[in-house]
Amino acid sequence: EDGPIKVGVILPMSGGSAYVGEGIFTGVELAVKQVNEAGGVLGRPLEILLRDEQLRPDVSTAAMRELITLEGVQHFIGPATSATSLANSQIAREEKVVNISPSAKTEALTAGENLHDYIFQLAPTTDVDGVRTVEVLKGIGTESICFTGFDYAYTHDWFAAVRANMGDIREAGAFLVPMNATDFSATITQLLSADCDTVIGTQFGGSFIAFIKQATPFGLFDSKTVLWGSNTGDHAVAAALGAELPAGLWASAADVWYYEGLESHAAYQEALADFQGRKETDMWPITGYNAVKFLAAAIDTAGTTDPTEVAAALDGLTIQTPLGEITIDPETNRANSPEFYGRFEPQDGSNAARMTDLRLVR
Amino acid sequence: MTMFSASIWEESSMGILQVEGINVSYGLSKVLHNVSLKVGKGELVALVGRNGVGKSTTMRAIMGITPSSSGQILWKNRPITKRASHLNARDGLGYVPEERRVFGSLTVWENLDVARRPPREGLEPWTEERVFALFPDLEHFLTRPAGLLSGGQQQMLTIARTLMGNPELILLDEPSEGVAPLIVAQIGKKIRELRDTGVSIIMAEQNLDFVLNLSDRCYVLEKGMIVYHGTAAELRDNEEVQNRYLHI
């Protein structure tokens, strides 16, 4: 068979989380460009077919089925979130197509009954995050901790993992708010009066920005150490908040453009900056980038586009990524992707704060 | 098949309002056919005819609420055929609809206030006091929401409201409908007084006694056409027209 190899890409492209989808998609485009410029895979170029998942499992599964039945797509990257990824994974199992989830962190995606041969999870799961988070907390010297966040799977799982690992760190309260809440003043007041030295939280996107802006005048960041999950270490967040990003906030990120520890990362950043036309790039592209690279490598290894064989090739596959070697565990179908942890500090000569004390945790 | 009475309309007298051959349709059904009429200054003209012959439609067309598809309407010799109704109202046309369209949630006073417009040269300006002198009932209900008034009270309010706009020509659609006999008589008297102050009036009415006592001239409509016009006295004497177009 000739002609391009079709890759279905299903991401949130509208609404409040569109920035995630657009970010991941940028990485996908960059990687596909690189692969194709290098002669493609098995001599065939990759072709992207993009669909908007709208954060809705019914929409994301419908898109997947459409791509399978109408376009004959057999390889998928996406969707971005846990709920949509879980749903699409079922279709992948039924239709026997390769499905690489670049950013969903839920344990459930590749645990128990849900694990099957065709689903691969690149983002570190919440269990992994839990261990890493506690490590960082211990480094900070946290003795007591408060939790806050949206009431959804990622929050519950991450908090559970932190609790399971935190040893003698004392829990002083958990203050969950409904998904997509926009007013956090009550929670902030509660956090202030709670008996903890550290706060960890999960609101992301616009809600994280709202939280910061509401909490700052109350002095939350002056009186407590704050560590945020949900990849809020993203440069996009720092750029949006500008001078309003409180110094000293701890966060994690899949990637930061100013990391200087690896040659491969510098090369990737140069290419990305070139591709996007700006030097200060965001975090999400790397997830899409790695997903494409994994897929291309697997097809190459398998020597065929047949999804069953490609899936088999992904098991145990190791590739070179901008952040070093990453391997997909053949048992769990999870990749051991690293993530950055760090503490925001304002930068001279720049509006956007950057993370210092940057550690690339594996 | 028209039965024009010849005597009355002297071509020389200039009408304040001239309607020339207008046609009106609702969707596909044509309701008015070539309706022409004239009203002189200070004249009271009646439109009579059975239900559904087009009396109200004629008034709505003049007011600019239901536009006519062809023909011409001249107000003080200027064409107003397709003009929006608020401009007509500001230019001295007043409309009292048949369905008593009071603003139900506004109080009686607010209903009057909303319709208030500057006085017109040569006409005594209308004030609340003058209106209440005309309809004493209304004064008792100043602060009651108009929607709670009885049917007849609403009828009075619609007339009063239009007067607050200081109109030069009033289109009165069935003013006596639903009004008690005593008040009908009073309204009749007031209408005559109004006319005597120089206001022109076009009135559609079913109550023939009322019409014949009040009006200067009458137009009889049948199926959207003017089939007769003459002075009130002529119509009173013309039993044939009465029997043919107004009785059974």
Partner: protein, 298 residues
């Protein structure tokens, strides 16, 4: 919490400032419904556009006190101008048609506006900071409290009284209320109802936009902000009684307190609290707290 009166006080303040933030948004929705009888789904989108417009204006003026005032007013003016065009060219053709078409129209407007915003400003997040004189906290004697939240507590009632005065105590207000009932008749009484309608739609849209600009310093400017606000605004307007300004004010207070107290006592179950409240209020008072039944005489 009740053991500590200071915290209780802060939470009450939190409730009130949130309520006023919500009220400013709901006021425009009430106004448009009250006169035009249109359930404006695009209200949230107008709110979002307002925030983005303020963002762009502040980009030019810089983050000064004057810049902020210009941003808020400019957002209202620019949104109002756009609303005027939309009303004149499109919406005005639908007044005589079925109610549901207007609903469909405003829904379509949401889709269009969202994408146009995305085209102009992208899908990333932005932030507007409070103007210098409202930054930081003020000491209320027993505890510090954000100045900006305090500012909302004052701005809300002022806006409420201004609108109330306009609607109930001026002839203009009476004309608006008459227009809601019978526009054809009002027109025949000499009022340019088309202009009244445009004016109301413009004013409602401008209020939404200014609401967006005013809300921005305590939230993010991003493409999801419209969806989050519209349901809150609807709940307020409905429980207060459609078209009733006082109702919206009280409705905003109720929702504000419920949101704040709910997130303390109900935590994540607060998600259903506002709906439970709406159900209860509508069952007890089917026309909302201050709404009037559309009673007719027969």
């Amino acid at each position: 919490m009740f053991a500590n009166p200071m915290i209780l006080f802060i939470q009450v303040m939190n409730s009130f400032s949130l309520a006023m933030n919500l009220f400013i948004i709901a006021a425009g929705l009430t106004l448009i419904f009250g006169v035009l009888r249109i359930v404006n789904f695009a209200h949230g989108a107008f709110y979002m556009v307002g925030a983005y417009l303020a963002l762009s204006i502040l980009g030019v003026t810089g983050n000064s006190n004057l810049g902020f005032v210009l941003g808020v007013l400019g957002a209202g003016a620019a949104m109002g101008a756009m609303a005027f065009v939309v009303e004149r060219v499109l919406l005005s053709q639908l007044y005589d048609k079925e109610h549901m078409l207007q609903l469909l129209f405003t829904f379509a407007l949401v889709l269009v506006i969202k994408d146009v915003v995305k085209m102009i400003w992208g899908s990333g997040q932005y932030s507007i900071s409070a103007p210098p004189f409202l930054r930081g906290a003020v000491n209320l004697g027993i505890s510090p409290y954000p100045k900006y939240a305090l500012f909302l507590c004052i701005a809300g009632p002022i806006i409420a009284v201004a609108i109330w005065f306009f609607m109930e105590r001026t002839r203009w207000g009476r004309i608006l209320r008459a227009a809601r009932e019978d526009r054809v008749m009002l027109n025949a009484l000499g009022t340019d109802v088309k202009l009244v309608y445009s004016g109301v739609f413009v004013a409602g849209a401008a209020l939404a936009a200014m609401g967006g600009a005013l809300a921005a310093p305590r939230s993010a400017v991003d493409p999801g902000m419209d969806a989050l606000v519209i349901i809150d605004a609807f709940i307020i307007v409905i429980i207060g009684g459609l078209g009733s300004l006082l109702g919206s004010f009280i409705g905003a207070l109720i929702l504000g307190f419920l949101t704040v107290m709910g997130s303390i006592y109900l935590q994540e179950w607060a998600i259903v609290a506002s709906y439970v409240m709406m159900v209860v209020i509508l069952l007890v008072r089917p026309w909302g707290l201050f709404g009037k039944p559309d009673e007719e005489r027969h």
